[in-house]
């Protein structure tokens, strides 16, 4: 029962990334912050793959409390449009940063590490996996 809501969506967090205009906002926000600092993949990693649960109470009896936002998207269905979009964006960012830093060696290592750290949790094989029990509860 969704108290005080006007829709029957149990967890609105799953539909956030499908809302109209959010991809554009995401690109703009990344573009803006990209100009400011180049550590955006780290920021995205924290928000998508570290923070668990929802910022509001949901009537699903806490099923989403142990899931990160990435895992909650579209109720766990893999390869939806939003997931593909969010996978491709770090890759594009990677190409851009490699180009800007003129393929410098140290930057290359840092960029590749950050790209891998963002891409690997998005693999469907790692849905719900917590390595070494980190971030389990």
């Amino acid at each position: 029962m969704n108290v005080g809501t006007a829709h029957s969506e149990v967890n609105p967090n799953t539909r956030v990334m499908n809302s109209r205009g959010i991809w554009l906002s995401y690109v703009l926000a990344i573009g803006l912050l990209h100009v400011v600092l180049l550590s955006i993949p780290f920021g995205m990693y924290i928000f998508l793959h570290t923070v668990k649960g929802t910022p509001f109470e949901t009537p699903d009896q806490g099923k989403a409390r142990l899931l990160t936002h990435w895992e909650q998207m579209d109720y766990g269905v893999q390869f939806t449009a939003s997931r593909k979009f969010l996978t491709i964006t770090p890759i594009v960012l990677y190409f851009l940063t490699s180009f800007y830093t003129k393929y410098d060696q140290i930057h290359f290592v840092l960029n590749t590490v950050s790209l891998m750290s963002v891409l690997i949790p998005k693999l469907p094989q790692l849905h719900g996996v917590r390595i070494f029990g980190i971030n389990k509860y």
Binding site: A6, H7, G21, P55
Partner: protein
């Protein structure tokens, strides 16, 4: 009144009364449940033209809305960090020192939104009022010294605030006057409490009188009333369907319908809002494939819809849904909480609005809270259905029945609406409501606001989108002495925060003009006029689509 030959719109009035008074003789011949053309006048059966709009805003508005939430979230995390460090005072409930090592009762993050976004603007909700919720009311003035964490009443009241938020469609929720004399008498004779359930000692003669009157009003065989509107849905749907049945429920159904559906144990499938193609696809699948693994036929298929959806202002597409239900042999349950008394030429709800026969709907449910100025709900339909509910409804067995003065209020209201007291005031109020609705909606769309819903629905949602504007809108309107209800995420989808206006028949033209002027000013100040379909101020010829109301 003139019926344009083969035109798109058919006047519901005269046609209606004929159908209702003659009852069985209606000239419709049914073949496989599909109604063939009405042979009465040789004219085709014409459905009311449905005009509704759900305009999308320009893309930049959505982007700014998400950025607004994003910045709010970032600041929220920052403030949480400060609270954790101890730099900022923590006003929420925290675990006791002794129990710090225990497993936490609540997850901090789940209250993130409440703590960091809702708290900042929560002075716009739960405002206590201290008068009857008529077209104008009095609000208790309250201030906050610590940014809305606690409130303090100053002792003053803000008088004569124009009420655009109460569901007082016909203006029947008013202070005591001589026309309510019978209610006083009933109070003197019966008292206030019933102290029993319907099945034990709680059935009064007032209930019987009320139920007969409701059945007469809705033109059905029988009706049963319950003490609480929400409980009518949540307690009766489990009595009607159970395991092995299928419920097809609209996306935007009210929490009471969702709760009733979940309590029943039936399989629930959701179809897109008011979308009969989607519903047809689900019905086809259900009939062809049956239950999930065994592929047995479903025991029952029940379609749950509402007459008017209160957050969208849309009116149900009843003719299409009834056609589908007849074709696929499903049952239909309509929750007319917001539409009974508010739409239709005689105020009999969405069935009257479309000029259809109430016997085509299996279960008609409604509440008395909105248009009748009372409390409680009813379920109406065929006599055997209502008799079954009298025996098997959870509400009849466990819940206290309706209080006698409230029953009397509803009896008075229904008699007023039907014109039984000899005057036409009831009908005048219904027409006044329709006039007010049309005027208000027309003016709003002319000004350039995005307004959702059917053009005849008295619930008018005006879209605000950005969370900051939601707060600014409500506060500035209160300063101008207008009270509105605003809603944001998570009650609505993320980017569709809105203000919901409820028009009343008791609003005078002057009230509405005051509100419209204030909206015009605030709309310019807050840049809320997003609509790209501004109608011209000039009235186009042949714009009138219905001739029953004179403007």
């Amino acid at each position: 009144m003139a019926n344009p030959g083969g035109g798109a719109v058919c006047n519901g009035n005269l046609h209606n009364h004929k159908k209702q008074s003659n009852g069985s003789q209606s000239g419709n011949c049914r073949k496989n449940g599909i109604i063939k053309e009405d042979q009465q006048n040789g004219k085709p059966h014409c459905y009311k033209q449905i005009v509704e709009s759900f305009e999308e805003p320009p893309l930049h508005v959505m982007v700014f809305t998400y950025l607004g939430y994003g910045i709010g979230t970032l600041f929220g995390h920052f403030r949480d960090f400060l609270r954790k460090c101890g730099i900022e005072k923590c006003n929420t409930a925290i675990e006791r020192e002794k129990q710090r090592d225990f497993v936490p009762l609540y997850q901090d993050f789940e209250n993130f939104y409440t703590r960091n976004l809702y708290m900042r603007i929560r002075d716009n909700w739960n405002r206590p009022i201290c008068s009857a919720p008529g077209p104008q009311f009095d609000i208790m003035e309250r201030v906050s010294d610590d940014y809305n964490w606690t409130f303090r009443f100053t002792g003053r009241t803000i008088k004569d605030v124009i009420n655009m938020g109460s569901y007082n469609f016909l203006g029947l929720a008013a202070r005591y006057d001589e026309s309510m004399r019978t209610i006083k008498e009933v109070l003197e004779v019966y008292g206030t409490g019933v102290s029993s359930t319907r099945q034990e000692m709680g059935t009064l003669d007032k209930h019987k009188e009320l139920e007969d009157l409701v059945a007469k009003f809705l033109n059905v065989e029988a009706a049963m009333v319950f003490g609480m509107g929400f409980a009518t849905n949540s307690m009766n749907i489990p009595a009607l369907v159970g395991k092995g049945c299928l419920i097809l429920s609209d996306e935007l159904n009210h929490a009471s319908l969702v709760l009733g559906a979940r309590l029943s144990g039936a399989t629930i499938r959701v179809f897109k809002h008011n979308n009969s193609q989607n519903l047809e696809m689900l019905l086809k699948d259900a009939v062809i494939y049956g239950q999930p693994r065994t592929h047995r036929a479903w025991k029952k298929i029940l379609i749950l819809v509402e007459g008017i959806y209160s957050m969208e202002g849309s009116i149900l597409h009843l003719p299409q849904i009834v056609a589908l239900k007849n074709k696929y042999k499903a049952y239909l349950y309509i929750d007319e909480a917001h539409s009974i008394g508010a739409v239709g030429p005689t105020g009999r709800g969405v069935v009257d609005f479309f000029g259809m026969d109430p016997r085509e709907i299996d279960v008609l449910m409604g509440t008395f809270t909105k248009s009748f100025g009372a409390a409680g709900g009813y379920i109406a339909g065929r006599k055997d259905l209502v008799d079954y509910l009298r025996a098997n409804s959870h509400s009849a067995a466990y819940a206290t029945s309706m209080s006698p003065p409230i029953s009397e209020k509803i009896i008075t209201s229904i008699k007023f609406l039907m014109g039984d007291d000899g005057s036409t005031q009831g009908l005048q109020r219904i027409q006044q409501l329709a006039k007010n609705t049309r005027y208000f909606r027309k003016k709003l769309s002319e000004m350039g606001f995005i307004v959702y819903g059917n053009e005849k629905s008295p619930v008018v949602p005006v879209l605000l989108y950005m969370p900051g504007k939601v707060a600014a809108f409500a506060r500035s309107l209160l300063q101008k002495k207008i009270g509105v209800v605003v809603v944001g995420f998570p009650a609505t989808p993320l980017a569709e925060a809105r203000a919901r206006f409820c028009i009343s028949a008791a609003h005078t033209r002057k009230n509405l003009n005051t509100v419209l002027e204030a909206l015009d000013e605030i709309g310019d100040l807050l840049q809320l006029k997003y609509s790209r379909h501004r109608k011209s101020m000039r009235r186009e010829p042949y714009e009138e689509t219905s001739f029953e109301l004179d403007d």
